[in-house]
Point group: C2
Chain length 237, copies 2
């Protein structure tokens, strides 16, 4: 059996990190987001509870591969990557790839929290004052810290790919930079001005043949107001 | 060469997750937190920048193993565990272990954010009102969601260990429950009343011979006001 990605329909979210690795792998996969909405929600409920046959998961995305159901976006990326030559073979290098992927995941979480700093389960409108303050701190301190970090990694690795040779965290870095450009166009644009390797890296990922084909397809979902990356102009200073 | 754990001196923090796996492995390791404070800070600076020879890291802990420097707490845990028989050998089970470890890491981050909801770089006192609201939401919604999830995993796996057989995420789950008991004694106590498997699991981990010896040693640091888990009574309702 091929892969089946189980995720919320209607938003790229954390599912998109897994999708990029699946696309780059060239493997066949079913994406519940491309099918009937109700079916997707049912599949998600069943996968999260463990009723579908696997270990329960706290949150989507979940990747089904035969009888195996695995969750946590970065984990899905590594699992698929390792099976298709997109992860380093050496155990030490593999750990570095995992480190980079986890650091992207931290940045993703911090980005999400800019619009929901107080309570993930409450409305944005009810935490707007706090979101304004959190976003200012994010744009001024956290965003330059994270993106500057990846610039240094690229610099040390020769400038082309994070670990010298292409590996799956390169896709994650591309996606988070895309999301940040959408959510904070001014703040991200200003930060990237000083980071030429990172800017070139995003273009390099987008030009990979399978990624370019995917980005041009209807399978690539646009960012919107329901995901991690939301374009609230008031939060962009 | 043996392992060297490089972390902030004076707080258990995210370094403690790595420490528990190192202790359970029985391997010899140097812990910078046990040595001179200034030396520890210098080692950290050097490891984070990449000046010590490895890839730069965004944040500690960093594990040095010969010429390899790896960061991200869960990643260090997996790396050490895999080398000492504390991670599943099967690739699918390995992915499930990684999923559980990443879910603990998410809970750790959300716990940290209860006392720093607006800005990680600003004082607790300057975001107290937001911390009160964030903590109420955490205690009432997020904490039961996460801990209830681990109870269900234990239930499905037979009740003893998360994946049936002992593996490194069992240590991480123990540590986060310990931290939550310290930070939110009332809220955590109330939540745990309905979770008998999780309660028994924490005791089972603490009774493992190497863990018991470690917990009774001077190497085990107490929680305090500088880490992820802070006992601010006002946040416990």
């Amino acid at each position: 059996m091929s892969y089946r990605l189980i995720y919320w329909p209607g938003l790229p979210g954390r599912g998109e990190f897994a999708r990029l690795v699946l696309e780059e792998s060239g493997a066949a996969y079913e994406d519940t987001a491309q099918g009937d909405r109700q079916d997707a929600l049912e599949a998600m409920k069943s996968a999260l509870s463990g009723a579908a046959g696997g270990l329960p998961a706290l949150a989507p995305p979940v990747l089904q591969h035969d009888a195996l159901f695995i969750a946590q976006s970065g984990n899905i990326c590594e699992y698929v990557a390792a099976r298709h030559g997109l992860a380093p073979a050496d155990e030490g290098q593999r750990a570095l790839a995992r480190q980079l992927q986890a650091t992207v995941a931290d940045l993703v979480s911090e980005t999400h929290d800019t619009h929901h700093p107080v309570a993930i389960g409450k409305y944005y409108e009810d935490q707007l004052a706090e979101a304004l303050e959190a976003s200012a701190h994010f744009r001024e301190v956290r965003l330059p810290k994270f993106l500057g970090y990846f610039e240094r990694v690229l610099e040390q690795s020769g400038g082309e790919w994070l670990l010298g040779a292409f590996s799956y965290p390169d896709l994650a870095l591309f996606q988070v930079v895309e999301g940040l450009k959408y959510a904070f166009p001014i703040g991200t644009g200003r930060t990237l001005e000083a980071l030429p390797l990172l800017t070139a890296h995003a273009a390099r990922v987008a030009a990979r043949p399978r990624i370019a084909a995917y980005l041009a397809s209807a399978r690539r979902q646009t960012f919107n107001a329901n995901g991690i990356f939301r374009a609230y102009p008031e939060l962009d200073g």
